[in-house]
Symmetry: C2
Subunit: 169 residues, 2 copies
DNA sequence: GCCATTTGCGTAAGTACTTACGTAATGGCT
DNA sequence: AGCCATTACGTAAGTACTTACGCAAATGGC
């Protein structure tokens, strides 16, 4: 793939596909890792569960905001976690629209059990990035900020008037 | 999100989620751009269509390999492109299992019409990366190569025996 | 030539996100 | 207190990938 990788050759023109592919590849690898560790834990649960570990209690909306997903996605993950007995859900007494998630006793135990594995994955990832892709995280930070501040359509549009003028001559 | 971005704070521990999020964000922006250009073209078609532009005729398997997706995904895209009148499909006379895709006359016209837009997007992307995230592409190259050569589970496993020895003492 | 194995790919089902829709709750204003 | 714009989120449907399965064609060994 390295020598005949069309997407890589497309470079800046296929960044979306590139990120998507990487995401799929990493998820597959982490899934295999979880299977090897005899846990039913799902990769998509990770952001939610670790956020609850760190903060204790969070609403669907808070989770959605801090993870950068829609509330509908968090709702789905919530449903799975609840069925797996990993979380308890209750309405916030101060605002009954808000659904507050907390890890159940089982959820806490499982998170505690998996914490060393997560730490190892983070270590492996850090070493890999440090050695093979230094600066990757900072580059991703800046890229994210740039497309949020000034999205692609606006940037393309900003180039358009000049292009139109050139077409007239 | 920049100040309360849990995934960003998770750094190396949540790279998969990070890449997925970026992919989703870019796809949304490109979709908006296509809508603004009054085309029914879909972001997911881009790799397939541009590969056909450059190579003329390719089989499902060849496209899957060079784009880095499963043949099933290419099959789905093929179905959409066929329904949109963008491609012609025929069995390879030398190996009738192979399905060869080519752009139809309509597909060629549409690709030609969109080529300036694609070039602008690539330019915008290049300028953005050059200015805000220099080295991003090379870092992604090396990251991809690293996890393919030595996947995450193998790396974690390589750390395990040392970890076990430490636990015994 | 025969046949076990491999290859190519269509299709179904699963997975993990999104948007759209609708209902209930909240809070500001009169 | 009532009205209404806004907010929070569950659910359905849509989107874009994957794995699983199955069938046909091709390959290669005997």
């Amino acid at each position: 793939m390295a020598t005949n990788d069309f997407i890589r050759a497309k470079a800046h023109a296929a960044l979306g596909t590139r990120f998507r592919r990487l995401s799929e590849q990493l998820e597959r690898q982490v899934e295999a890792l979880y299977a090897a560790h005899k846990t039913d834990f799902q990769p998509r649960w990770y952001p939610v569960v670790t956020a609850l570990v760190e903060h204790g209690a969070l609403s669907v909306g808070e989770l959605a905001a801090m993870i950068g997903m829609t509330h509908a996605a968090i709702s789905q993950i919530r449903g799975e976690l609840k069925r797996a007995g990993m979380v308890r859900v209750a309405a916030d007494p101060h605002d009954r629209r808000r659904q507050i998630l907390q890890l159940s006793a089982k959820g806490k135990r499982e998170a505690e059990r998996l914490a060393p594995l997560w730490a190892t994955v983070a270590q492996v990832s850090r070493e890999l990035v440090t050695r093979d892709a230094p600066g990757l995280l900072q580059a991703l930070d800046r890229f994210e900020d740039a497309i949020r501040t000034n999205p692609i359509p606006a940037r393309v549009h900003a180039l358009a008037p000049k292009d139109k003028a050139r077409r007239r001559s």
